[in-house]
Amino acid sequence: MNQSVFEPWNDPNAKPLIQFKGVTKRFGEFTAIDNQTFDIYEKEFFALLGPSGCGKTTMMRMLAGFEAPTEGQIWLDGQDIAPIPPNKRAVNMMFQSYALFPHLSVWDNIAFGLKRDGLPPDAIGDRVGEMLKLTRLEKFAKRKPHQISGGQRQRVALARSLAKAPKLLLLDEPLGALDAKLRQDTQFELMDIQETTGTTFVIVTHDQEEAMTVASRVAVMDDGRIMQADTPANIYEMPNSVYVADFIGDVTIIEGTATRNGNGYDIAFAEGQPSLHAESEIDLTDGSRAALAIRPEKVSISAEKPENTRNALQGKILDIAYLGNLSTYHVELPTGQIVKAQAANTRRLSRRSFTWEDEVWISWTDTAAVLLEA
């Protein structure tokens, strides 16, 4: 294994391509972006993820030049881009609606930006041909946008925004208009194209699965702030806040009082219930409030009380969500707290071990849960 891992954000010598320096954006009274400072590196596939209204689109429009920051600066390649209008930036954008020019053919749509640069016709022809090949659209070059399918339109939009070989490509919900199956295929296609061209991609999406699949780093946003920006695995396994843990994937949050014990903390969450143990490196004073975030797939479910674990609770199955390969069990503790547990359906459905109203034990290891400040 000679391959080095692509992690420029951990390399102190790496020069970021984009730097947000204390950027704030207000629309009247409303603060869309709240004093954000962060870096995006070259060749990254950076995802801005969050619910609608969290400011992710504003962030992207500031990069494209359609909005100007109220305070702070945005640097691209060592240069403040505030005075550069959108038509002069080495940044291109793929619009959510694709924004293909309906009166132009696929070929002319892709050539549009190149023609504005005043390139000679054969250079334009070569570049458009290259883009058509990259997005497998050669056959549709002469068609108008309304004569091709949604998936093809999406690829035209991508080809058009890549044609000028921008330093940075912005993608605004690029797959939002596609159906689920096509969306999956296109996600991998996007990653391939990003790798082939080596362009830095910033994608805005509200679909966490999409962000996790395509991105090298995901920034989870809420209320104009980036809550956590990290690799998909770290975001999922090591969320830094209850918000991020709850936003990404399925999770059970148990709140309680923490007391230091060995390498971690004991969490007392309810009277009459055993306290739970979680290993953690965070610093909490004894008696402070804390939250345990437990992923359902890390919780096992059994009929008998399991040995060798400190985290075992008894409860009653309230609900079973059958997902085909998996089932998610909603187990209600005597306190009313619901814990989600996931188990693979290795047996036929009719021979499933547990059913509604069954009394069961749920358990997890000391390292399974993530301890967070409440």
Binding site: P86, V91, A99, F101, K164
Partner: protein
């Protein structure tokens, strides 16, 4: 059965109000001038039975149409009408497009008001509005008073009873027909298209020429036809605002009917006018159809 009835309603309407009058006019245009009431022969005499009908049809001829070609007044009038209509349409477009563009880019809550202001003149009589232009444009009119008052001119300008006044009248009257279809296409346009154009390197002005203008083409074509077609046959505006040298076929038609009382020749003029108008009407319909197909 119900469908037949539903379809029959518009067809009966067209039959009664378009086809029947047209056949009557066509028949008169093939008749001869006569000093009688009505002032033409032959008349259909049903009492004479089959012989009467045969005699009636044998008396019809194309004499009046031949006559139109012998006097150069007529073809000059047709040509002049088309020319005036074309220039007036262009002027209306130049005035109407910026207005439609401004409306489409106005804040949302302003648009209904602006739309209302465009349509408002329709609620007063067309004739009164044209008359009021006489008051504005005449030598003692408001416009001249204003310009003299401001010291821009010392002698009043002669605008009324010239072609200029006709153009002003036409542009004023038909402006809403130009504004509304253009506004409709501009308002429907996806704003992100302009952002995309800018993102790909266009200046604002380039984006207008390369995106906005081509995408409002259908509105422009529709607006131009809606102004051009009725303007060719326009009578009231040239009669009230135009001078003796303003030659338009609508005026010629009126004079044939009411001054010369030559109904057959007047009808022939009307039939030719209709034939001339059929060409732009068909082109207009095809444009609309193409637009529907492109959107469907």
């Amino acid at each position: 059965m119900r469908r037949v009835v539903l379809i029959a309603v518009p067809y009966l309407w067209l039959l009664a109000l378009f086809l029947v009058p047209f056949i009557i006019v066509l028949k008169i245009s093939l008749s001869d001038y006569a000093l009688s009431i009505p002032p033409y022969t032959p008349k259909l005499d049903f009492a004479a039975g089959w012989e009467g009908i045969k005699a009636f049809f044998s008396a019809l001829d194309f004499e009046n149409f031949t006559f139109l070609t012998t006097d150069d007044l007529y073809w000059k009038a047709y040509l002049s009408s088309v020319q005036i209509a074309a220039i007036a349409t262009l002027c209306t477009l130049l005035v109407g497009y910026p207005i439609a563009y401004g409306m489409a880019n106005a804040p949302d809550h302003w648009r209904p008001t602006l739309m209302m202001l465009v349509i408002l003149p329709f609620w007063t009589s067309f004739l009164i509005r044209v008359y009021s232009w006489m008051g504005i444009l005449s030598t003692e009119g408001y416009l001249n008073q204003l310009l003299i008052g401001m010291g821009l001119i010392s002698e009043p300008l002669t605008i009324l009873n010239t072609n200029t006044a006709v153009y002003i009248g036409i542009v004023y009257t038909y402006l809403p027909f130009m504004i509304l279809p253009i506004y409709a296409t501009l308002e429907r346009m996806d704003a992100s298209l302009l952002e995309a154009a800018e993102d790909l390197g266009c200046s604002r002005i380039q984006a207008f020429w390369l995106v906005t203008l081509p995408l409002s083409r259908n509105g422009i074509i529709a607006g131009c036809f809606l102004v051009f077609i009725p303007t060719i046959g326009e009578f009231v505006i040239p009669a009230l605002l135009g001078g003796s040298d303003t030659l338009m076929i609508g005026k010629v038609l009126w004079e044939e009917f009411f001054n010369n009382r030559d109904w057959p020749v007047a009808s022939a003029v009307a039939v030719i006018l209709l034939l001339i108008l059929i060409i732009p009407i068909i082109l207009f319909q095809r444009n609309e159809q193409k637009q529907r197909e492109a959107e469907g």
